[in-house]
């Protein structure tokens, strides 16, 4: 028995719908606190979920019946908390939000008693590598970064995004419904990001935005052809660039080249010159040099921030700073840039001799200075590993422990991220008209002890299972 079901687990490529049978047993909300009206209704919910999943083959996940969550504590993010609230999800959107008794409940809606529950918008991870890796140590499962050059803006994450990755249902179970997927950070410009919905049958259903931002990195960790190790002393090939000077000069020249390219391209267009050859690398950078889309700059040291921001300002880039881990001395300057910041990882190490909480307090210190902050699921010290992305809310909670106001922490993993990447009209708060990406949990979303009971994406109750819950259930028998 175990082996027959076990073989099923081994296939990563299977879709949730194939496991609908198992889903019917476990996808309904669990726990006594999150009370659904009756057992038949649970089964109906499960059947609905399966039915909706089955319809994936021809359509987007579509909510077919209005859902009303009553009696829960609503953390709206945009307009405070509502202790005894009602939230109506219809046609994949939030149709109504308000205090109990003040919200009209549509007829024919499925009413779910959420008393004792906390309800909040789906969490958004501002930096992940979902769909670019499966088993970290297994190189054949990794499409994290193209390793051939420092400047590769024409690498598009959407070309590699593996929507069936198991990492997504694992993170989703803890209430993460959306994410920015970025290439790994070894290169100065490793490529362009996508913005995803964490549910859907295939890539096209899950990618909400392509080339939404340019990934850029600067500092001691960026790849340098001229040095096998850090600092140019690694005995590598004597090739340019091998220092920070080289990296910045290379980048500045690349931007100048784009400006030159645009001039020639426009001139050719004016003359109706059909022989002009498109250069994909140049084309990729144009929207960013026009300031039309954000450039996410990963940088750790204060002095590196100052260098790269000078360059960004020279070319009028629309900047989102990322990491800024060791910038305690220049926080006022960072605030003066008036750019949003993805802080951390909050778990990055301070320098030896620095107080233990020098990085823990960074989100609070930046927010205090009026900086719009986001918090990502990045692990300590390095490239993100989205295997741990389910811990995103705990990073935000840890920032609260070290002084960040609670509301700011919640914003840092919802609305602020949506605003930074241009999705605030659809995501990030419990507001009428936004996508019904909603999480129901048995307590404070930022606390490690809290259990997420149900995730809705576009109003569809997502089966609360993944490969790990199936293993759990199999071996708990």
């Amino acid at each position: 028995m175990i082996f027959s079901s076990f073989s099923r687990f081994l296939s990563r490529t299977q879709l949730p719908v194939i496991l609908g049978g198992a889903g019917a047993r476990t996808c309904a909300v669990e726990g006594p606190a999150f009370r659904v009206a009756s057992r038949p209704q649970i089964l109906a919910t499960a059947a609905l979920a399966v039915a909706v999943l089955s319809s994936f083959a021809v359509a987007q996940p579509a909510q077919q019946q209005a859902i009303v969550l009553t009696g829960g504590k609503l953390l709206t993010v945009s307009h405070g908390a509502i202790e005894n609230g009602v939230l109506v999800l219809a046609d994949g959107k939030i149709a109504a939000v308000g205090e109990s008794g003040k919200v009209k409940i549509p007829s024919g809606a499925k009413v779910v008693d959420a008393k004792g529950m906390t309800i909040y918008p789906g969490l958004i991870d501002p930096e992940s590598n979902f769909g670019l890796t499966e088993i970290s140590a297994d190189q054949m499962t990794n499409d994290l970064v193209e390793r051939s050059d420092e400047i590769m803006p024409h690498m598009h994450v959407y070309d590699a995004f593996h929507s069936e990755t198991e990492l997504i249902p694992v993170a989703r179970l803890n209430g993460i419904t959306n994410a920015v997927v970025a290439p790994a950070s070894e290169d100065t410009i490793p490529g362009q990001d996508i913005f995803i919905q964490m549910y859907g049958k295939d890539r096209d259903q899950m990618i909400m935005g392509r080339d939404i931002a340019l990934a850029m990195n600067f500092g001691s960790e960026q790849r340098r052809r001229g040095s096998a190790g850090r600092g140019g002393g690694g005995g590598g090939r004597p090739e340019y660039p091998s220092t920070r000077m080289g990296l910045v000069t290379q980048l500045r020249q690349a931007f100048l080249d784009v400006q030159d390219y645009v001039a020639h391209r426009d001139a050719a267009a004016k003359k109706d010159d059909k022989t002009f050859k498109r250069d994909l690398k140049m084309e990729a950078l144009i929207p960013y040099l026009k300031g039309e889309r954000p450039v996410v700059i990963g940088v750790y040291e204060g002095y590196d921030v100052e260098t790269i921001m000078a360059l960004a300002q020279e070319f009028h880039l629309e900047v989102i700073l990322n990491h800024v881990t060791h910038t305690q001395e220049i926080l006022d300057k960072i605030a003066s840039y008036h750019v949003p910041v993805i802080v951390g990882s909050i778990y990055d190490f301070p320098r030896a001799g620095q107080r233990f909480d020098a990085v823990y307090t960074l989100p609070a210190e930046l927010a205090k200075r009026g900086v719009k902050i986001a918090i990502s699921s990045a692990d300590a010290g390095g490239p993100v590993s989205s295997h741990s992305a389910r811990n995103l809310p705990y990073a935000a909670g840890f920032a609260v422990a070290y002084g960040l106001p609670y509301d700011e922490a919640l914003k840092a993993i919802t609305l602020n991220v949506a605003e930074m990447f241009g999705f605030a009209d659809r995501l990030g708060s419990l507001d009428v008209g936004k996508m019904a990406n909603v999480v129901v949990a048995n307590g404070d979303p930022l606390d490690v002890r809290t259990d997420v009971k149900q995730v809705y994406i576009q109003g569809v109750p997502v089966p609360m299972e993944n490969r790990q819950t199936r293993l759990r259930d199999e071996y708990s028998k």
């Binding site: 198991e166 909670g397 490690v448 790990q468």
Partner: protein, 456 residues
């Protein structure tokens, strides 16, 4: 120096104990701003999570001469006792990490042979490492510093009390039992297979172990034969050469070293137990043990504990089936479960990792706190001395501003043997015994850090 140490392993701890006793006096007089340790200390009116006998609301703990002298709703401390008001705060035993590679400056793996049992981690222990300081600020009072997982049979661990600021020998846990690190699976395969050496497979893994124990049995037999001759007064008997490697392996077979095994897969637990039975030693704990939930009922009978991650998975193939319910499922099936860091990062917040167990599987708060206190103490073999708030145990205590199992808890004061080593309210570092320069050690303190030449 230690390589030529003539003392047999079993006597080493005694030597350290003596050294620690002398040097700690010197250190405490030399250290800057070292506050005088009160003879009696009472931490009163806190939520006392004892880890052994539940939680006492509005409880008090009396510390006398570095030991816990009383715990309960009230204690009979003398009026002269220094009083710390813990109203609105939580008190737990010191957090214990049963799997750390901190403070070794990257000297984690002697990855030059798959069998290196005579390596001793104390020889690499850097007592001024910033990792220790950051762990202390996270409430960690005891750590087991282990050899890495490159080798089937690695080196011997060192147990420390995190008395950051004192000298090296004053940080050693007095009289702690010795432990030795074993490993199987992907890491030894990768390291030696990558060089076209044995072992490059799990078949090779375990054959290397068996061969090592055959050598050890032979070594013991030679010594037994010699001792028998000597006992009969045979003046011509020549003692076999003392061999540090075989001596250490013999100590495993003699039951003098706790065996701590890095492995992941269910089949490996069973193989390891079978080999242990074949050669007559016990496995103290499986470390990582991410698939224990599959065979916990079986392993529980062997009384082997696990030191596992709360929720890590997917970083390598043998971590593919990791589930965050592993700890609680294994516990419910009778296995003693500890959570560990294997990380200079996570060691700073093991209390939160314990909190996750409330979420993943519904551990009670009592069960959860035990996973980072009393149970890791058992794995290290110091549970009679620390790991819970009980009378006569070492006063290793952490005062938290919030429920330690929540995301929001910060360690406010950390006591070790009744002495205050960290106080978050102090300006600067918050340390009470540290002065001078702290060392940065690169990397993240994980098992897999085996030097660039062995990287993937």
């Amino acid at each position: 120096m230690h390589f030529f140490d003539p003392l047999p392993p079993a006597r080493r701890t005694t030597k350290y104990l003596i050294a620690a006793g002398i040097l700690s006096i010197a250190a405490s007089t030399a250290a800057q701003q070292a506050p005088s340790v009160p003879a009696d200390l009472v931490i009163r009116n806190g939520t006392v999570m004892t880890a052994s006998h539940g939680t006492i609301e509005h409880g008090s703990v009396w510390v006398h001469a570095g030991k816990i002298a009383g715990v309960g709703a009230s204690v009979n401390a003398p009026a002269s006792a220094t009083v710390v008001d813990a109203t609105g705060m939580w008190l737990t035993p010191g957090i214990i990490d049963p799997h750390s590679h901190s403070a070794l400056d990257g000297d984690v793996n002697e990855a030059t042979s798959p069998v290196t049992p005579s390596m001793r981690m104390i020889d690499a222990f850097d007592n001024r490492s910033a990792d220790l300081y950051r762990a202390l600020a996270g409430g960690v009072t005891t750590e087991l510093l282990l050899h890495g997982s490159a080798n089937m049979i690695g080196g011997q661990a060192v147990v420390i009390k995190n008395k950051f600021g004192l000298d090296r020998d004053a940080m050693l846990f007095p009289n702690a039992p010795g432990s030795i690190k074993f490993a199987s699976g992907e890491n030894p395969k990768r390291v030696y297979g990558g060089r076209d050496q044995l072992p490059s497979t799990r078949m090779g893994n375990f054959e290397v172990m068996r061969a090592a124990f055959e050598d050890a049995k032979h070594y013991i037999a030679e010594w037994d034969a010699y001792n028998a001759k000597a006992a009969k007064g045979d003046k011509d008997a020549v003692a076999p050469k003392r061999d540090l490697k075989l001596e250490a392996l013999a100590d495993v077979l003699r039951g003098k070293l706790y065996v701590q095994i890095h492995c992941y897969r269910a089949d490996e637990f069973m193989t390891e137990e079978a080999i242990a039975k074949e050669y007559g030693y016990k496995v103290r704990a499986f470390h990582h043990a991410l698939e224990m939930y599959k065979v916990a009922g079986k392993i529980a009978a062997d009384q082997t504990a696990i030191a596992t991650f709360a929720d890590w998975w997917g970083y390598k193939d043998e971590a593919r089936d990791a589930i965050p319910w592993n700890a609680v499922i294994s516990m419910r099936k009778g296995v003693k479960v500890a959570l560990k860091s294997d990380s200079d990062d996570h060691v700073r917040r093991l209390n939160q990792e314990a909190g996750k167990m409330v979420h993943y599987g519904g551990a009670t708060e009592d069960e959860a706190i035990r996973m980072v206190t009393l149970n890791p103490a058992w794995i290290i073999g110091v549970d009679d001395r620390t790991g819970s708030i009980d009378v006569d145990k070492d006063a290793d205590l952490v005062l938290w501003n919030h429920d330690p199992l929540s995301t929001y808890a910060r360690a406010q004061k950390v006591y070790i043997d009744g002495d205050l080593f960290f106080d978050a309210s102090l300006p600067g570092l918050g340390t009470t015994h540290f002065s001078g320069v702290m060392h940065d050690s690169g990397g993240f303190g994980a098992d897999d850090e085996i030097g660039e030449e062995d990287g993937q």
